[in-house]
Symmetry: C2
Subunit: 378 residues, 2 copies
């Protein structure tokens, strides 16, 4: 993997991430394909809406369908029918949030599957091995993601463990090779909750280990948005300019723009897909809840400025009807639109950065994004 | 609408149905878009899988979203984003099967909505008016579809009512015009349960009224398949050669081939879409239940001879994983495949008819269709 920082505009960055499976222009949003499918959208439609790279969840895929089957198909790309770049997380986040966690020890974690209660163990080495078998283009280290709130002492101890695990992941990564021809890279994860001092320790230690890229984890877990932005800004400033920066699990369109303005290159979040399946669509003028009665006979497209398949062919009234009638097509169209919007937003941000007008563009976009939300409140 | 009988091979027919919204080659299978959407598939994908004409349900659309909204959008085609030919049923079948039926009288039916219990009334005239508002290319008369079993006396009385209603529908049809420019036609429905004498009365009476086409209703409602075929054959033989013949609500691939062999041109059924959403896929070699453990690591496509998007890009193992993981993409891919299969089957039947080899082709296709089903039983 090669990352080229193409342009900066203040702290905002435009870059190019080149993998053996294709290039990714940043800033980039990565649709989340939790269990080997971005929910309610086909791989060819992911291309159509502008997705350059998608995410898979190691925890889910390890439990079902299992690594053995995915190896048989030549890796996750072949199994799920996506031949572009793919990032997998380490599974750590889901172990701590989804499973019945049985215990953390210095060597790894034991957990019970949320499907059938079977007991499993992840270690820094095993999650690298699993991701080697998945064949993702970007792999993530095993980390502990502390909950919010968490006291400083816990955050400190947790971060020490995360740093040790990161070093062990890197060792395993260096001692192994890709299984399917295409190169793989490994990103570290900066933790430290909302404590600047710990975030700084974490970032400096990980940078000294020289990973291919750096993620900022443990944010958007319930902390005030001001803390999220402060930690993002602090971490980004400590990370090397020539490596990609990935803010994990964030967020709203506003969150993305503010974080790009603080130097972030990569994002993932279930918001556009999950909210879409709940009839909430994102537009340039803010969010719309299509279940709202005011859309009953609204023949406008979801977002008149959007060129996606849903907006070119269907009305808000029709989408509302589909949701009221529980038709699967409603989920499909809202997903196509919401991802189109998120990916358009990233492209527009990139264009603004390349044109040295990110600050003004961001303010204007944020005003637009607030207009419908305000109208709803009146 | 113009129907041209292009070729016959025994009783089997190849025809061309021309509407203002496009032509339909017969024999044809019409995917069912109950509530204004063929479930789990996009209109552009309907085109891709080869759909020429789709079906909408008057009962459902009348109740939700209602005729007023559909009129505002210039009819059902604009509302649902399908610009090809469309057929709507009269709503009668759903009134008798879904609603809390409040009573039939000579003038029409009262029923309670299955959504909210509100009371509504359909008359022969009102269902024509509703379908004028929907703007379907082919409209159906209001009929009573007797349940199975039903005694001969009930079937006789019911059929007399259906015949009176058909005449009234035709009167209303003749006294009104299409609302959106494109012409509309009206099909009658032959009823009579499993009683040949009543079927004959019904067919002769309706033929004398000179409808644009003729449906055979009240079959595939629980009667033995031999009765279904016998009634189909009897009715088809009584219907005019130069008008299209539509066997309502039928059926399996085998049912379709047997009925084409008895002179049927048009079919609709929820089987390919509903069964697909339940992980049951149709192939040239029979049905597969993708939940079956034997497909866990089966890397073959659903049907190796199929060229649909699902079969070109994904394995049985992946589809099985999607169903096990309750991923919506599983419903989408199974629907795309099953409709592709049904529409391929109709095209293959048409080719065989045009080539005067329908009988031999049908026997061969039926043998193939039985092979996997037999394998399952061993």
């Amino acid at each position: 993997m090669r990352f080229t920082l193409q342009h900066t505009d203040g702290a905002a960055r435009a870059g190019l991430l080149q993998t053996d499976r294709g290039s990714v222009e940043t800033p980039v949003f990565m649709p989340v394909g939790t269990q080997g499918s971005v929910k309610a959208i086909e791989p060819r439609e992911l291309r159509e809406v502008g997705a350059q790279i998608i995410l898979g969840n190691t925890y889910h895929l390890y439990l079902r369908p299992g690594v053995e089957l995915i190896e048989k198909t030549g890796g996750l790309h072949g199994f799920v029918g996506w031949n572009g770049p793919m990032l997998t997380d380490s599974g750590g986040y889901q172990v701590f949030s989804l499973s019945d966690l049985r215990g953390i020890d210095p060597d790894g974690v034991h957990f019970k599957s949320h499907h059938d209660g079977s007991v499993h163990r992840f270690t820094p080495e095993s999650v690298v091995d699993i991701q080697r078998s998945l064949g993702s283009d970007i792999m993530m280290v095993l980390d502990e993601c502390p909950p919010y709130p968490c006291d400083e002492e816990y955050a400190e101890r947790s971060n020490q463990l995360t740093l040790k695990w990161a070093a062990r992941c890197l060792d395993r990564f260096s001692a192994t090779t890709a299984k399917y021809g295409a190169g793989q890279s490994l990103f570290a994860i900066v933790q430290g909750s909302v404590y600047g001092r710990i975030r700084e320790t974490s970032a400096r230690a990980l940078v000294s280990l020289d990973f291919d890229g750096y993620a900022i984890g443990g944010l958007s877990v319930g902390e005030p948005v001001s803390d999220m932005y402060a930690m993002t800004e602090l971490c980004a400033a400590l990370l090397p300019a020539q490596k990609p920066r990935y803010l994990m699990g964030v967020g709203t369109p506003q969150n993305l723009l503010e974080s790009i303005g603080r130097g972030i290159d990569m994002f993932d979040c279930v918001l556009p897909t999950r909210n879409g399946r709940n009839a909430m669509v994102f537009t340039r003028r803010g969010r719309l809840n299509l279940r709202n009665a005011k859309f009953t006979d609204d023949l406008a497209p979801v977002d008149p400025e959007c060129g996606c398949y849903a907006c070119r062919n269907f009305s808000r009234a029709y989408l509302r009807h589909l949701f009221k009638a529980r038709e699967i097509l409603g989920l499909q169209l809202a997903t196509i639109h919401n991802l189109s919007f998120y990916l358009w937003l990233m492209n527009a941000a990139r264009d603004a950065i390349l044109g040295d007008r990110f600050g003004a563009w961001k303010e204007s976009a944020l005003r637009d994004l607030a207009s419908e939300d305000q109208a709803e409140a009146h």
